[in-house]
Amino acid sequence: MEIRSFGSSSAGNAYLVTDGRSPLLLDCGLPVRELKQATSYQLSSLDGCLITHEHQDHARAAADLMRAGVDVYASRGTIEALSLTGHRLKVVRALEQVEISTWTVLPFDTVHDAAEPLGFLLAAGGEKLLYLTDSAYCRYRFRGLTHIMVECNYSKVILDRNVESGALPSAMKGRMLRTHMSLDRVLDFLAANDLSRVREIMLLHLSDGNSDAAGFKKAIQAATGRMVTVAEKGEKL
């Protein structure tokens, strides 16, 4: 399995995953022009794009992708919030498994201030990937994961310091606590799951100014003993 990050921040999130046969896009929160460049103008070779929720940093290119002939998979709530229509739309529901080319995908509900946000568990070729972003926490646990892409948005300590210094409005802090995953919550999540088959953990969507990439990587690595990377624009896992 190969995972590439085209963008991983509140400016735009999009990842390409492939099992060697079938490439999928996870979220499309970048201008379609950038997605075209990132895929070497091979958008039409994508077997689909899974969208977690309607916020623009995850869904910006949805309509453009459909026009380019890519099937878009999202919840009913997400689709309605984006006012999307067309035959390229595929409605998925939490805890109802779907087949997309060589992939089997299980969407599940996440905790975010969006209409009907989802995370995705994806399996292909004996490997199992979890894609979990923009969620205050995860309600579920998983078995046999080989790859984990998880949001690690902020550190509570840094967040509190920024509120104290006035760098971050306290209302913003409240929203972050209710809608995004902190380092501590990621550590608890990883501790509650069986990581025996996990080969790689990719940390996503680090908040500008409220995170510490090197510190997060070290902390997760120390707790799990697994290879940890921090997703950056265009970085190859």
Binding site: L95, E96, Q97, E99, T104, V105, L106, F108, L121, A123, G125, G126, K128, A136, Y137, C138, R139, Y140, R141, F142, R143, G144, G166, S170, K173, G174, L177, R178, R185, D188, F189, A191, A192, N193, D194, L195, S196, R197
Partner: protein, 303 residues
């Protein structure tokens, strides 16, 4: 933060001195303007007396369970807002190891009057059958008419409530809430249930007035006061409580049921039951430690 030494083991003098020192610093730097007649020393003395007998949910003294920094912050919040616990303007409540200074409805009105300079704050309810009219000018609402007949007054027929904050030198600030909005606000708390028999049902008009006054005071303080110190103190209790509630939700809801992809069975495509969700509640004891390696996933062909 829970590893801090409990407040009882820190001398009263230390906490009170720290708070008094910070207050002096704020005043010297011109960041804090206390209402005339408000004595921070007296408020601190009253608060410290109250704290001696204040307990948390499980009956333990808050001074032994709450962190000294949260005790100091709650006292500081009290002073910055010019509140006095002896006048029931605020209460000290423990949320886990965090002590917060929670304003009462009298307290909210006191802040708006004494610290934010309002002349008066009042509220009333609109019943079914009342004549009630208001205008919206810019972002401001202005009530132009409210007439009522005695027979309209019935706690079960409240349509809306409004609060008005009046000033000497500028236009009044008005907040109007429909009964649906008021009930929604009540539902955020632990006490009110639709069809229940709480104080909200027995004294609906009084509770509706309190709710709209609190809303008006909050909106007014946050939108028009330029003292970041006051705004922070005003909002801190709500934030600490929201944070404690989120922690509670996570403790109860996070990392619970296992879900998995059901293995594909070749030549027999799954139909309805194509998702496996394990309903059996996982053992709570597993949370917080690495999973047992014996708990291997049952993987099907192709996985």
């Amino acid at each position: 933060m829970s590893k801090e030494t409990p407040a009882t083991q820190v001398a009263k003098k230390d906490i009170v001195d720290v708070v008094a020192g910070k207050v002096r610093g704020f005043i010297e730097r011109g960041e804090l303007h206390l209402p005339p007649g408000y004595s921070p020393e007296n408020a601190l003395k009253s608060a410290w007396l109250k704290l001696q007998t204040t307990t948390d949910k499980s009956g333990k003294p808050v001074l032994s369970t709450c962190t000294p920094s949260s005790v100091a912050n709650s006292l500081l919040d009290m002073i910055v807002q010019g509140l006095n616990p002896a006048k029931d303007q605020c209460y000290f409540i423990a949320y886990g190891t965090q002590l917060v200074c929670q304003r009462s409805y009298f307290g909210s009105m006191a802040v708006v009057k004494n610290v934010a300079g309002a002349k008066d704050v009042y509220a009333d309810v609109v019943y079914k059958g009342d004549v009630f009219e208001y205008e919206i000018k810019g972002k401001q609402k202005q009530i132009t008419k409210h007439t009522q007949k005695l027979e309209n007054i019935d706690g079960k027929n409240i349509v809306a409530a409004y609060a008005v904050i009046e000033f000497e030198d500028r236009a009044a600030y008005t907040e109007i809430m429909t009964m649906a909005e008021i009930k929604q606000a009540w539902l955020q708390g632990q006490v009110y249930k639709e069809g229940g028999n709480s104080v909200h049902h027995k004294f609906a008009a009084e509770m509706a007035k309190k709710t709209v006054i609190n809303r008006a005071c909050k909106a007014f303080i946050n939108s028009s006061n330029d003292s970041s110190l006051l705004i922070r103190a005003y909002n801190r209790a709500g934030e600490t409580i929201a944070e404690a509630e989120m922690d509670q939700e996570i403790a109860e809801q996070a990392n619970q049921d296992y879900i998995d992809i059901e293995a594909e069975i070749v030549d027999d495509p799954p139909e309805d039951e194509n998702t496996k969700t394990e309903q059996n509640q996982p053992e709570k004891g597993q949370k917080g430690k690495m999973a047992d390696p014996a708990q291997q996933t049952i993987v099907g062909p192709g996985f």
